[in-house]
């Protein structure tokens, strides 16, 4: 699934990363618990979360996650944005809840990891 279409369907705003976002996303995972995210073995997944702090980006960095959607209208500050940019990540804000974002992505055919 094209990231640009995902951004459009979740009413998202892209804050960091390649503006073309022609990248394809195959798998997604939703969690506010970073310890859970760190147990995910699959790489290159999209993370949906409501946890907006630096540790979200650090966790994504360690877990080889390049796409993050901050759901339920959580705003990303400039430190988070800068760290995401340093790590070549795409970060997106959405006004929708984690549940709604996950539902939309599931309907679009983005697969769960388990």
């Amino acid at each position: 699934m094209k990231l640009s279409l995902i951004i459009n369907k979740i009413n998202g705003t892209q804050l960091a990363g390649d503006p073309l976002t022609d990248n394809e996303v195959e798998y997604a995972f939703a969690s506010d618990l970073m310890s859970d995210v760190l147990t995910v073995e699959k790489e290159d997944i999209l993370l949906i979360t409501g946890l907006n702090n630096l540790q979200t980006i650090r966790t994504a960095e360690m877990a080889d996650i390049r796409y993050i959607i901050f759901a339920r209208n959580k705003k990303v500050n400039c430190d988070i944005k800068r760290l995401a940019e340093e790590n070549n990540m795409v970060i997106i804000e959405s006004p929708y809840s984690v549940y709604k974002v996950a539902g939309i992505l599931y309907n679009l055919g983005v697969k769960p990891i388990f």
């Binding site: 506010d32 618990l33 970073m34 310890s35 859970d36 995210v37 760190l38 147990t39 790489e43 946890l51 702090n53 630096l54 540790q55 979200t56 650090r58 966790t59 960095e61 360690m62 877990a63 080889d64 430190d79």
Partner: protein, 138 residues
């Protein structure tokens, strides 16, 4: 190659900086991505543990052609019951740690899962030493 990082307890804004540096170096050394991920996930959990529980700590990383040995040494409260601390879901983390997305009692088990060998020694009111070993060759 031998790397040393000083870690400050309680400073969540810097938690993960050492792990990030190590990841960049391992990438430069062309180590397989799957092995790098295992090492840095375990290291990052350990680094967060020092920030979350200890006053301060030191992480040393020794890299040779055969293996990577990481030793995390902290000055802190120590772990009274290591066996219990290794149980999934057991945690003594503060609300501040939980707000960071940690403190669910998954750190130590996940560190064990991502390393080939892991050793913990701890002394109450003194500190904890965690050794992580990952082999680079099959």
């Amino acid at each position: 190659m031998h790397l040393i990082y000083k870690i400050q307890g309680g400073n969540f804004s810097r938690a993960g900086n050492a792990s990030s540096e190590v990841k960049k170096i391992l990438k430069q050394l062309n180590i397989e991505a799957r092995i790098i991920k295992r090492i840095v996930v375990a290291l990052y959990e350990g680094e967060v543990n020092i920030v979350a529980h200890a006053f301060n700590g030191v992480i040393t990383v020794a890299i040779d052609t055969e293996k990577i040995t990481i030793v995390l040494t902290d000055n802190g409260p120590g772990i009274p019951d290591i066996e219990k601390a290794m149980e999934k879901g057991y945690s003594t983390a503060s609300p501040a740690v939980r707000e960071m997305g940690f403190g669910a009692g998954m750190g130590l088990p996940n560190m064990k899962k991502n390393t080939d060998e892991m050793y913990i020694t701890s002394e109450i009111n003194k500190g904890t030493v965690v050794t992580l070993i990952n082999y680079l060759l099959p």
